[in-house]
Amino acid sequence: MKRFQFLLLDAGPIIKLFELGIWDKFIEKCDVTISRTIAEEEVVFASKEDEKEWIDLSPYENLIKIVDVSPSKIAAFHSRFATQLSRIEIHPGELEILAFFCESSEPWQVCTSDGPVFQFLGMMGKSEQGISLEELLQKIGLSKQKLERWYTREFREQHTRKGRTDSIQGRGLQ
């Protein structure tokens, strides 16, 4: 049985897994869910160098789950958290992930390498539902080498804490 049945992946960790050459092994071990905007827009943008090659996730459509969130649901999410979202700038794929995450009652874990996403989770009091790539790889026994700072537990903790502080000081959720 696969680990992490409720795992949402952001663009940064996907690109890193490809870069490390462990994407295939990773999806064998984890049930991965990705938002369509991340799969079709953000991963393509971020992995493109000189218009030549980019990461194409379409061959993996049967091995991972790609979810769509309707614009009207995202608009409702956007309106509900307008104050919090006005102080951070996330890409549309992350907006889709977070709207999906907030709407679901399942125990999702969000794996990202972006500070604002961890901060948002901290603001919402859902710190424990954020996970760094470093922690994830350790848990499934795929950790190989030292990863860059933004994939580490320390980075996640720093930004989650910041989101929590914002919330307590009235700059986040009220």
């Binding site: 663009a11 940064g12 690109i15 938002s35 369509r36 905007t37 799969a39 079709e40 827009e41 953000e42 943008f45 971020a46 992995s47 493109k48 160098e49 769509d68 969130v69 309707s70 614009p71 009207s72 995202i74 608009a75 956007h78 309106s79 006005s86 102080r87 951070i88 700038e89 996330i90 890409h91 549309p92 794929g93 992350e94 907006l95 889709e96 390498s113 972006d114 500070g115 604002p116 996403v117 961890f118 901060q119 860059e148 700072r149 933004w150 720093q158 930004h159 910041k162």
Partner: protein, 366 residues
């Protein structure tokens, strides 16, 4: 407003036909038409792609209230409406990104500009434009060579958003409820041309509440006022006369070649310098026109230098983007898009930050 209607609005604002929008976004003709007509809802990924194509934020399609479109005031705009709309879209997007960075870093600041002592556009005379330039010169502390510091002071002290892009036309100015005052200058123009355009557009910004009440387009007389203002602002009387006194021969005359050097010193064109001197010393129109013919020949010899190239993004914009990234307020992909760099290059900014702490340190100054 429904998303479909807003998509149509955004498409028309950038001047794209349905066919062009489909080509650019990779969305089928019939699909986009159905989406615009409200017959089907787009996927969010499609909406995100269309936002990129139309140079809008996704927020534009998600918020209830439609933000007011700012008036864009052109200086020598292109005849082609498509070019015009595309440049306006590029400029607006840059301004919105800049504003978002200010919000993320809690650096939204408003400065109070000096105001002219006139409220009615018809009362605004050429003399008032000149005298207003003197007031602005003093208020902004522009010194003897105003072009050397004007841009920096406007950006850093008055928070004017100033961008450089290559486009057909010379400049655009705008004052938006959303992102404040902003100016776009053509990076292909020579520096003295850009300086003059900046001073000219500054007049429009400062008199926005007077002239933009009734008219979206500047009249010929408003343009002349802006030119008088720019001329006086960039070539203030006292330092100019001091320099002329040094250069003048026994007969009290200055050669055109010497004026050319002086124009370079003040970073204005020789034409502008000749006009300014004509105004200052009340030289006859016919004589000035003769001087201008020779001045044009002389100006044609100047070629732009490598050092004349400009960065498209303002320094403050780049600094705010780096700060927002460091403080975890800006995602890496957005940072790359805002800075116009690749994701890989964007990662280098984070890598340089190994020992960074965002702990706030305050230094007592009182």
């Amino acid at each position: 407003m429904e998303i479909g209607k807003r998509l149509k609005l955004a498409r028309e604002a950038i001047g794209y036909t349905l066919k062009r929008a489909c080509q650019e976004s990779g969305i089928g003709d019939s699909s986009l038409s159905e989406i615009e007509n409200g017959k089907r809802e787009p996927k969010f990924s499609q909406l995100s792609r269309l936002a990129e194509v139309y140079k809008r934020t996704v927020d534009f399609f998600l918020t209830d209230k439609l933000p007011a479109e700012p008036i864009m005031l052109w200086r020598d705009g292109p005849g082609n409406i498509e070019d015009m709309k595309k440049t306006e879209a590029d400029f607006r997007r840059l301004c919105q990104q800049y504003h978002k960075l200010e919000l993320c870093t809690a650096e939204t600041r408003k400065a109070i500009f000096p105001q002219p002592d006139v409220t009615n556009p018809e009362q605004f005379s050429w003399l008032q434009a000149e005298s207003f330039a003197g007031i602005v010169h003093n208020n902004l502390c522009l010194g003897d060579i105003p072009s050397a510091s004007l841009k920096k002071i406007l950006e850093e002290r008055y928070y004017v958003k100033i961008f450089y892009l290559e486009f057909a036309g010379n400049a655009i100015s705008t004052v938006s409820d959303e992102f404040g005052p902003a100016i776009l200058l053509n990076s292909r123009n020579v520096p003295w041309r850009r300086n003059y355009d900046l001073a000219h557009e500054l007049f429009h910004l400062l008199t926005w509440s007077i002239f933009r009440v009734e008219s979206k387009e500047p009249s010929e007389s408003e343009e002349k006022l802006a030119n008088s203002f720019a001329s006086k602002l960039l070539m203030p009387e006292k330092p100019l006369q001091q320099r002329l006194a040094v250069l003048a021969n026994e007969k009290g005359e200055v050669q055109l070649e010497q004026l050319d050097d002086l124009a370079r010193e003040f970073s204005v064109s020789l034409d502008a310098m000749v006009y300014r001197i004509a105004t200052l010393f009340k030289i006859k129109k016919e004589t000035t026109e003769q001087h201008l013919v020779v001045a044009k020949q002389l100006s044609g010899l100047h070629k732009p230098r490598e050092s004349d190239k400009v960065e498209p993004l303002p320094e403050r914009y780049r600094d705010l983007a780096i700060r927002a990234l460091r403080e975890g307020r800006l995602s890496l992909i957005q940072f790359a898009k805002y800075m116009g760099i690749s994701y890989k290059k964007a990662q280098e900014y984070l890598a340089e930050d190994e020992g960074f702490t965002d702990e706030k340190i305050s230094i007592p100054v009182a």
